[in-house]
């Protein structure tokens, strides 16, 4: 997917100015938060479960090569093919080749963020193969001119009911419907035809189970089952970090994933798919391919951002992020928005292509608190800031400003003088008022709010004066 993260700031301003989007964000805000809080109540021991989940994920990412090999061996035993893709281009090449080999004209897709990373739909279309998104949210976006998703589990969360009603009326050429069940039925009718005629199904994978060579899929609409069982070919595309050791581990992680994501104790559909259709079985794919994607993940192993590989893609961090809640997902400019996206985008799409993202957080740590695998997101964002500074990627004025300030702050006499001057200058700016409406050195602050006036003298000088009087 094309990366537009360098325009974060402009994107964010556009989001703030978009009245319709702001209304939709207000409507969506809180729903995920409330539902998650409710769902966690029936978990006896959230912290304990989280520690267990964290341990499972650490076990895997600390020896990723070993677990991947185990998974590969088991998957091959079940009759599946296992392929390795270095990057998005290789994903596109491999999937196109698989499609060509089996004479595929149409591919039905269950949601896959890796497919978004790779820009797979465009590649398939270029090869004359029709990709059809069947997750309702993804379908809505696909028929709306291939709009990118704004959330990893609710891709069309930025759209309102009215938006979808208008869209379906336009693209389906049907009378405009305003009831959600009617709109859903309309999409089902369109998709049914595709399910019946697709030659290949393509899905992501929430987890890969090394013990059995299976892929686990967490979905809510049932489209995942249609995609993975009806066509003769099933291709799973997922990141190499998604492997876990055992089915027992899967059950631990599943106690947290749906609760953290949608506030459900279990998703409507939960599938563990193993191998190809056996002679005595009635359904399932005849050919099963795993395309396991690196795209920057292997480079993260063992480094400063290693812990990020624990991520199970629940979206809780973005749901709880004050910045995400305010501007939505598109502003982040790539596949993954919110706090996890602000870490992943620099790592996978280039730190130099996403200068703003690590700074686009208040470091409030609400994300870290809700993360079901305990990823210290604010700490990782801070480390990225450090990396940017070390690499000279931040604006020169900012770097010089920081150095000068830090230098002065190490010289108490000079600092005291500077603070005295600063307090008086700000007081002078405020005049008789108790506020400053335009801060010349920080106009960003006063564009949307006042800057309260200082009291006029520094604590230091007042305290010295008081001590002087007392003595």
């Amino acid at each position: 997917m094309e990366i537009k993260s360098m325009r974060f700031k402009a994107n964010a301003s556009a989001s703030l100015a978009n009245v319709v989007l702001q209304g939709n964000l207000k409507n969506a805000k809180g729903k995920f938060v409330t539902k998650r809080a409710e769902a966690l109540k029936d978990l006896d021991d959230f912290e304990g479960t989280r520690d267990a989940a964290k341990a499972i994920r650490n076990k895997v990412i600390d020896n990723l090569d070993l677990w991947l090999e185990r998974f590969e061996r088991k998957a091959l035993d079940t009759g599946a093919h296992v392929m390795w893709a270095k990057d998005g281009a290789e994903v596109c090449r491999l999937v196109t080749e698989i499609a060509r080999k089996h004479g595929v004209k149409k591919v039905t897709k269950s949601k896959s963020m890796l497919s978004e990373e790779a820009g797979l739909n465009q590649a398939l279309e270029a090869a004359g193969i029709q990709p059809v998104e069947t997750d309702l949210g993804e379908y809505i976006l696909q028929v709306d001119n291939n709009e990118p998703p704004s959330h990893i589990i609710a891709p069309a969360v930025h759209k309102s009911l009215d938006d979808v009603a208008d869209l379906f009326h336009k693209v389906h050429g049907t009378p405009r419907k305003t009831e959600i069940p009617a709109l859903t039925r309309e999409a089902r009718e369109v998709l049914r035809e595709h399910f019946m005629t697709a030659d290949m199904g393509l899905s992501g994978g929430n987890f890969l189970v090394a013990e059995t060579g299976s892929v686990a899929l967490v979905t809510n609409e049932g489209n995942g089952r249609m995609v993975t069982t009806m066509p003769k070919v099933h291709v799973v595309i997922t990141g190499i970090e998604k492997v876990i050791p055992t089915l027992e581990d899967l059950s631990t992680l599943m106690r947290l994933l749906p609760r953290s994501a949608t506030g459900q104790s279990i998703s409507n559909y939960f599938s563990i798919l193993t191998g190809v259709k056996k002679p005595e079985e009635h359904d399932g794919p005849e050919h099963l391919y795993f395309v396991l994607v690196d795209s920057g993940r292997a480079d993260v192993v063992g480094g400063d951002f290693h812990e990020m590989l624990r991520c199970i893609r629940c979206g809780a961090c973005m749901n709880h992020c004050p910045v995400y809640q305010t501007i939505g997902g598109h502003a982040y400019g790539w596949v993954y928005p919110g706090p996890m996206g602000s870490v992943l985008t620099p790592l996978y799409a280039g730190i130099e292509n996403s200068i703003d993202l690590p700074h686009a957080a208040t470091l409030c740590n609400q994300c870290g608190v809700v993360c079901p695998v305990g990823i210290p997101l604010p700490e990782l964002l801070r480390k990225l800031r450090e990396k940017q500074t070390d690499a000279g990627l931040r604006p020169l004025t900012e770097r010089i400003g920081l150095r000068v300030w830090a230098w002065v702050a190490q010289k108490p006499t000079l600092y005291a003088l500077g603070a005295r001057f600063g307090a008086r200058y700000l007081k002078w700016l405020a005049g008789k008022s108790d506020r400053i409406s335009l801060l010349p050195m920080a106009p960003e602050w006063t564009r949307g709010r006042e800057f309260p006036a200082p009291q006029g003298k520094t604590f230091r000088e007042m305290y010295a004066a008081r001590k002087g009087t007392a003595a």
Partner: protein
């Protein structure tokens, strides 16, 4: 008990009354309070901006200035946490400084936490008339567990009627340099906080971090609210309002 008061750079520059309120509260509780006059900033802005050398230099300076005291008290959860938590991770490869940072971290407290958890104060000098809602600043809340302490202290102030707001734990949008790097987003988040404050019906909002308070007051005034008072919890507790 000798207590070193770390005033914080923001209080020094913007609102000395908070420093004096903290001083009064500590002295009133029987502490011998020293305010080292060479103190400047704990280095958090440098650390959070990715300037590690600057942050380390200021951390060492602060440790050297304050390690002689029985306790170090800070009228800010954010600066307090920086000293208590972040200093520890800063000196992984410098054992001497890591030990000094560890020793100081164990004796460093956010003001309300210190008054409640260490001094176990029974009474506070302030009186106040009116309703107050409390904004939980993110770092104090989520890193230091500052939640019950300021409320317990406010309950001891005669005349304070605490009216909790929905979303009291939600970020106000300040975020240090975030507030000037992404001013529009920051102000939009602040607006939500102000809506929560208004819905509470309280006539004043209190908090433990001046950064958040400047952000909230600035947004309230821009929204046309000329009456809701924005106070540091120390100011109410000390009766310095």
């Amino acid at each position: 008990m000798r207590v070193g008061l770390f005033v914080t750079c923001l209080v020094d520059l913007m609102r000395p009354s908070i420093g004096f309120a903290a001083l009064k509260l500590l002295e009133n509780a029987g502490c011998e309070v020293v305010v080292p006059d060479t103190q400047t900033c704990c280095g958090q802005p440098a650390w959070n901006s990715g300037d590690k050398p600057g942050a380390e230099a200021l951390a060492k300076k602060t440790i050297a200035e304050f390690e002689g005291f029985d306790y170090v008290v800070v009228p800010s959860g954010s600066c307090g946490d920086h000293i208590r938590t972040e200093y520890l991770g800063m000196f992984a490869s410098e054992p001497e400084w890591r030990d000094r940072a560890t020793a100081m971290a164990a004796r460093t407290y956010e003001l309300t936490d210190f008054l409640v958890s260490v001094l176990k104060v029974e009474a506070v000098p302030g009186t106040y008339k009116g309703s107050v809602t409390y904004h939980d600043s993110c770092t104090g809340l989520r890193s230091l567990g500052i939640k019950a302490q300021p409320r317990a202290l406010l309950a001891k102030v005669e005349g304070v009627e605490l009216k909790e707001m929905n979303g009291c734990e939600e970020c106000c949008g300040f975020g240090g340099t975030f507030s000037v790097k992404f001013g529009d987003v920051s102000a939009a988040i602040a607006e939500r906080k102000c809506d929560f404050i208004h819905s509470s019906g309280a006539r004043a909002v209190a908090g433990g971090d001046l950064g958040c308070l400047l952000n909230i007051e600035g947004k309230l005034r821009r929204m046309g609210d000329e009456t809701t008072r924005v106070l540091h919890v120390a100011e109410i507790l000390a009766g310095e309002v």
